[in-house]
């Protein structure tokens, strides 16, 4: 009986910890949402009321009615999907080879993939900007996409290699005995079986691309080309203090797509994310 009291106390302590943690992590987002559904007058009411007296969605309509804002959202989607898709094209064959072949350059390539993830995009943008400017790749979605791809490709390869490692070799060997070439076995056996791994790597990299700031901030100076992360930053710079509630609504709109996507697919993503670091 003593044990069960002790465990119940432990449970109570655990829930207390959960409560504190949730307050710290959810609190700021709830405050943001609270500000985003207030009228201008109520933003300045100085008591803490999470649910405003006159909740309104006007701020959201005013953000979405803004000429540029829907564009920012669209550009953000376009660049993050282009980056994840391009990274997939580069990463998939490489991940396959790193999983299935033995070759002298294998370890250097693996180390390179890890090491390049550590380099800040800012560092590579410093010299690259000069060249991209000269060949007309600044202020172009194509040029920006190339860098989104470069940033996503190492993580994509790492995650996918971990996944392909888990697919038994006997399956593709059987296909090759039956007359498939290696490429055929890759296309018909490995690709379909990798679909869960491909999906999680794609989604995680698309979400990270949605948050990408430095690359578009440096490369894209035309507002009509900028993605949402840069859009709300510019918005923050130009809004006046009487429209805090509109800035809050804009921020909510920049966060929601990423969080919803993540929630829907989180089981997938977390498993794939930890596989590389914990295994072994």
């Amino acid at each position: 009986m003593r044990m069960s009291t002790k465990q119940r106390l432990g449970d109570a302590g655990t829930y207390l910890a959960y409560l504190v943690v949730c307050l710290f992590f959810a609190g700021p987002l709830l405050w943001l949402i609270s500000l985003s559904i207030r009228t201008a007058a109520e933003v300045y009411v100085s008591d803490i009321r999470l649910w405003p007296q006159n909740p309104t969605l006007d701020n959201y309509f005013s953000v979405l009615g803004n000429q540029l804002f829907p564009r920012y959202l669209w550009n953000g989607l376009l660049l993050s999907v282009a980056g994840a898709f391009g990274a997939m094209l580069f990463a998939t064959p490489a991940a396959y080879a790193l999983s299935r072949f033995e070759f002298p350059a294998k370890r250097p390539v693996m180390i390179g993939i890890l090491a390049f993830q550590m380099i800040s995009p800012l560092v590579i943008m410093v010299p690259l900007y000069r060249y991209m400017d000269r060949i007309g790749l600044t202020d172009s979605h194509f040029g920006a996409s190339m860098l989104y791809i470069a940033v996503a490709a190492p993580l994509f390869t790492w995650m996918l290699k971990g996944f392909i490692d888990g697919i038994p070799r006997s399956l593709e060997e059987a296909a090759m005995i039956d007359g498939c070439t290696r490429f055929g076995a890759f296309l018909r056996v490995i690709m379909p079986l990798s679909l869960p791994g491909l999906t999680s790597a794609f989604v995680l990299n698309a979400i990270l691309g949605w948050s990408q700031f430095i690359i578009p901030f440096i490369l894209l100076s035309k507002p009509a080309l900028q993605p949402i992360a840069v859009g709300i930053f510019n918005f923050q710079g130009t809004y006046n203090t009487t429209s805090t509630q509109v800035l809050a609504a804009a921020s909510v709109l920049s966060i929601v797509p990423a969080i919803v996507t993540f929630l829907v697919l989180q089981r997938f993503i977390i498993g794939a994310l930890t596989a590389g670091a914990v295994k072994g």
Binding site: P28, L29, L35, A94, L122, I124, V126, I149, I259, V278
Partner: protein, 310 residues
């Protein structure tokens, strides 16, 4: 008979591994990725080092080689302050993200083991903060720290009768505000890694410790921590680099201010190159950032388990 099988096997093997097939060459498979990484990482890394030895600017295509930028670095009186702020930001963020991440991972692990309802909700709440784009996180925390009437923390203080705090306008406080915002955004990553590390600790170790009469605290100290050690080290290195490279959060939260109180190295490099168009001096700072990353990466690679090839 054996000979016949051997011949058949050999025939099969030649059919199975047709050497002339282009798809049997591993380099064909890794070539696209390798070329991409060479063009977008190796080449720029070499270039940034080269530019650091010139007097190049973004405005003038002409430049010549000189050590002036490095000499200027030595004379740069604000450099000490920048390095100190960067160190403070990285060190405090890493320590608190690790501690908080570990505590949360332990609490989640206990909840899962005890089948407590609501654990997945808690996990989702924490992960949400990690998904928030850095700029948005900066804006969110600016609204929390704001000294206007809609600032959450000062409203809270006012309600309990305490004087307001200048979260973002006093230099010695602003850096800690930035640290808090970064802890909020980064802790989830440590939590995921450490939780995954906790789950794979064999239950038998705890059972053996319990049989020996070890208290919960001793079990944590002598079983959990030693078992987590490799992941704790890898985690430390990864979040140190992530924090060192943090740029968007600080830019949106404080813009580096008040004054230069929250101007970390990456922000300084950005300001030099893209505000002052001073490619040479900015490259020097980028080289410093690169060098720090290389050192961390070196330790990271040494820590990773060697793959057992099959």
């Amino acid at each position: 008979m054996t000979e016949g099988v051997a011949t058949a096997n050999a025939a099969l093997r030649t059919r199975r591994r047709p050497r002339w097939r282009i798809s049997e060459h591993p380099y064909i498979w890794v070539a696209p990725l390798t070329l991409l990484l060479l063009a977008t990482y190796v080449y720029p890394a070499v270039e940034v080092v080269r530019f650091s030895f010139t007097n190049a600017t973004l405005l003038n295509p002409e430049y010549e080689y000189t050590l002036r930028s490095y000499q200027a670095l030595q004379r740069n009186t604000s450099l000490g302050g920048l390095l100190w702020i960067t160190f403070l930001f990285v060190f405090a963020s890493v320590v608190f993200q690790l501690l908080l991440g570990l505590l949360i991972a332990l609490a989640l692990n206990r909840g899962v083991n005890r089948n407590l309802p609501g654990v997945s909700v808690v996990r989702i709440v924490i992960l949400s903060s990690w998904i928030v784009p850095g700029v948005a996180a900066g804006i969110v925390w600016q609204l929390i720290f704001s000294e206007a009437s809609y600032g959450f923390l000062n409203s809270l203080l006012r309600d309990v009768g305490l004087p307001p705090v200048k979260w973002l306008s006093r230099p010695d406080i602003a850096i800690w505000s930035a640290v808090i915002a970064n802890i909020w955004r980064g802790t989830a990553f440590s939590m995921i890694l450490l939780y995954a590390g906790l789950v794979i600790i064999p239950k038998s170790l705890y059972e053996a410790a319990a049989v020996d009469g070890a208290s919960a605290w001793r079990q944590f100290w002598y079983v959990t921590l030693p078992q987590l050690r490799p992941i704790l080290l890898i985690n430390t290195i990864l979040i140190s680099i992530f924090t060192l490279n943090t740029f968007d959060l600080i830019l949106a939260l404080t813009g580096g201010g008040p004054g230069r109180a929250t101007e970390v190295l990456s922000l300084y490099a950005y300001n030099l190159v893209f505000r002052n168009f001073d490619l040479a001096n900015g490259s020097v700072i980028a080289v410093v950032l690169l060098a720090i990353s290389v050192v961390f990466t070196f330790f990271y690679i040494r820590l990773l388990p060697k793959e057992n090839e099959t």
